[in-house]
Amino acid sequence: MPDDIAPSPPADRGYLTEKGFLSWACTLDHKRIGLLYLGTTLLFFLVGGVFALLLRMKLMYPGEELFSNKAYNVFFTLHGIMMIFLFIIPAIPSALGNFLIPLMIGARDVAFPRLNIFSYWIFLAGIIVILASLASPLDTGWTFYTPYSATTGAAVTVLSFGIFLVGMSSILTGLNFIVTIHRLRAPGLTWFRLPLFIWSMYATSIIQVLATPVVGITFLLLAAERIFGVGFFDPAKGGDPLLFQHFFWFYSHPVVYVMILPAMGIVSEILPVFARKPIFGYKGIAYSSLAIAFIGFLVWGHHMFVSGMSDVAGIIFSFLTFFVAVPTGVKVFNWIATLYRGSISLDAPMLYSLTFIFLFIIGGLTGPFLGALATNVHLHDTYFVVAHFHYTMMGGTVIGLFAGLHYWFPKMFGRMYSERRALTAWLLIFFGFNITFFSMFILGVQGMPRRWAEYPERFQPLHIASTAGSWFLALGTVLMFWNLFRSLFRGGPAQPDPWGSKTLEWRTGSPPPTHNFAEIPTVTEWPYGFGKKEKERE
């Protein structure tokens, strides 16, 4: 594709035609609400990324040269809170999920459009409350462990109210999606003809609805302890500090699957299109999404092995943790089998999808090291955990999001981006990411504790490598966003189906009209019929 096509706008702007603040603020269109989520979450991705760069800059030297250790504690808390609650949890489900679910199932909108915009406004309200709480420097880390979070003078109560609101938005979105997928599928679109992204979003929504209330209640208990002095977590009053960790991880472990499942769905969509082969093991991938969602609820205790939990509980949770690897492995093998003897083209969405598989295998397989009791004692609270987490969440979810953004960008905006610039950005991100986070695996095994601002000098070389990597990663990310942002205005027009895909969203205009389809399509086959049939037609 040539780099600079004349910036003549595509003839039909579809759902983007209407302009002005109110047309966005009061919209009921799932596509516009999706874009609102996308803009908001990406903004916090960039802010959280700046905090990450600052943290890495400081860690180049083992001392208080750039800023104080107190500021370091605040910055890593902010990095965590913004990236987790304001970016990675809502990014794919609320942004891409909102945009794509009705299009992919051949519906005109989600089941409850008003609830949809309401959940966006609650999300914004939650963000405002969270930002207000930052007026007092928070240094609890994103996990808010008691007793520190119950006693610190920082505005934990206000913050927990903000997260309560954001969680409420997450529950409503999940509920909306579950009903939409059950009720609004196009004629002929049976469960086993659904695109795999829909299966993964269905599993994600179930976790959101079942797990998020628990974290909401946990924060209410914490607020009750802080305001009224009720001793839920204070042993002096008959409470138990580990109760907080149980409740917190009963939400926060399943929620890592809220983060990763949609990314797995994206990859499952992209691989067959760019390998021109039917997806291998469709039912395996579909059921494994549900299995991951379910098993994800059984393993929360593996975050607490060294917290003083009973040995029996430790053994049970460790044992159950290994089961998560089974459905995850099913997916990875099916993806690889899909690629086998495919006719692969390495466009940007495919490059990011392959990167997802590569990085997620590393991130996933370092999980069992942490889930095993004996190795956990050594690796707990070291950089190994940080590396594992970032390989799954950034190497997995964020790279999956990038894949999805490049894949559906033409559909969303009716324009193409520069493929050459996308490749350069991918290269920088790939190498930058691995330099940044692989160094952390080694640091962790050597015993570097996480969350420490100071460290013995022998760790410095790897810290410098990691920081240097973070610059490449940042440069690549900025270039990628610049490429996409620029294409919003200057990209050449996109065809309704630029990649030759078969899911329903490509059977309407790019960008789609407000009500998605001129006529609701009737579905007669699954969306992965590439290969033999296709050749016959040619």
């Binding site: 079942l210 580990l242 149980h246 409740f247 929360w300 009973s310 040995d311 509980a313």
Partner: protein, 94 residues
């Protein structure tokens, strides 16, 4: 004018409401009887019965299909899970 089916529905709602009131009074009266640990058990049992009445009649579960029943019952399994998992820790500590 009310048709017969809605009159019937009103009657059901009022009966359920009265049952909830009676159960509330029973909870209150039982609290005066000293049963030791059983006091909590009895209170929880009555509360569960009240919740069941609300779910069945006020939330219309009685008249819904199997899918909605599944959505109502499955979360109870997850509630058991969080209680069970936490107790596996608390009850078995050294």
């Amino acid at each position: 004018m009310l048709n017969t089916s809605s009159t019937k529905a009103y009657r059901t709602y009022i009966l359920v409401w009265l049952a909830l009131l009676v159960l509330t009074v029973v909870t209150w009266l039982v609290s005066y009887v000293h049963l030791g640990m059983l006091n909590v058990t009895v209170a929880m049992l009555i509360a569960s019965m009240k919740a069941l009445l609300v779910a069945l009649f006020f939330m219309h579960l009685r008249y819904e299909n199997r899918l909605l029943w599944a959505f109502a019952i499955i979360p109870l399994g997850f509630l058991t899970l969080i209680i069970g998992g936490t107790l596996a820790d608390v009850l078995l500590r050294d």
